[in-house]
Amino acid sequence: MMTQEQYKSGITTFEVNNGIGILTINNGMQNKISEPEFLELDSLKQWLSQEDIKGLIITGKGRHFSAGADVDYIKECKNNPSVLGEKLTKGRAILNYIETLPIVTVAAISGVCFGAGLEIALSCQFRIGASNALLALPESNLGIMPGLTGTIRLPKKIGKTKALEMIITGKTVPADEALELGLVDKVVPNKNHVSAATQFIEELTENKTQLQINSIIQSVNNAIYETEEQAMIKELEMFLELVKDINI
C-alpha cells in the first residue's frame, strides 16, 4: 500500500493511501469541532491538488466520527455573534468546497456523528456507517438550530418531512434507521467503515479514467448548482473531450 506523508491543519490530518485521500478529524476522544473553520481551506485545496487522487474519505480518529460543535465555544460567542457568523461562513465555505469536489467523497462514520460532525458528513456524496454509528442534529435540544448547513443539506438527502422531524426533535438515528432514511448509503460491521469506504471508492472508480470520474461528478454538480441550459452546454463539452480519448 502506498502511503505518503501525513499533513495537518486545524483539527484534521490528511494522508493519501493508494490514490485515496483520507481526511481525519482528530480532536480528543470525542473529535469535537472546536471551531467551524476546522481546517484551512487552502491547505485542503493544496492536499487535493496532488495528482491522481480519485477519492476522499472523511472520518474521525478513534471511536467516534465527531460529537459536534463545542457548545462552550458557542456560548462564549453569545455576545459577539458577528465573530461566530464570520467563522461559520468560513466553515460553510469548506463544506461547499468538499460538496463540489469532482472526485468521489465518502464520510466513513463510526460511533457518534452529531451536529457539526453530521454537517461535515453531509457535505460528502456518500456516507458509510459502522453498525454502531449514531447520527443526529441535536442543536434544537440546546435552544439553537444547526448552523453549518445542516438544515440545507439534510432535506436534500432524506426529504423535507423526515429532515424536519429529525432536526426539530434532535433525535438520534442509529445506523440501520439511517440506512432506511437514506442518510447513510451502506452499513458495515463495526470498525470496518474506513476499509469499506476505501473499497467503495475503488469499486466505483475501477476501469474509469480520472477525467471520466471528474467529468461525470462535475456534470452532476452542474445540474444542481447551475442553470439547466449551462449544465447541458458543459455536459456536451465534457462529453466531446472524453470522445477524443475514446478507446473502444
Binding site: M29, R63, N132, L134, N141, K171, T172
Partner: protein
Amino acid sequence: MKNLTPELKEEIRELVFEFFSEECEVELDELSDETTILNDLDGDSLLFVELVELMKKKYDLNIQLQTIGKYLLKNPAETIAQVVETSYLIYQHENEIVNL
C-alpha cells in the same frame, strides 16, 4: 414501571459487560464491577449514548438522550457496576428516570 426479573437483570448486566468489552477492546474477564469507564477503559460519556441506543432497540424503550443526560448529571455512572445499575433504572423507568 416495568418489572425487572432476575433473568432480565442478568441479561442487562451481560449486555453492559459485552458492550464495554467490544467497544473498548478489552477481554470480558478483564472487566469487573469496579472497572472505571474513563480511567480504566479510556472511555467517554459518548459510550453511554451508544449503550442507551442499544438498549432502546433491544427492549423497545421510550427514552430520550437528554433525559439520560439530566439524570447522569445528578447521578454519575463512573464504574461498570454503576452503569449496570443505571441501565436497570433506564429499563424500568424509561423517560421517567429523570423524576427519580
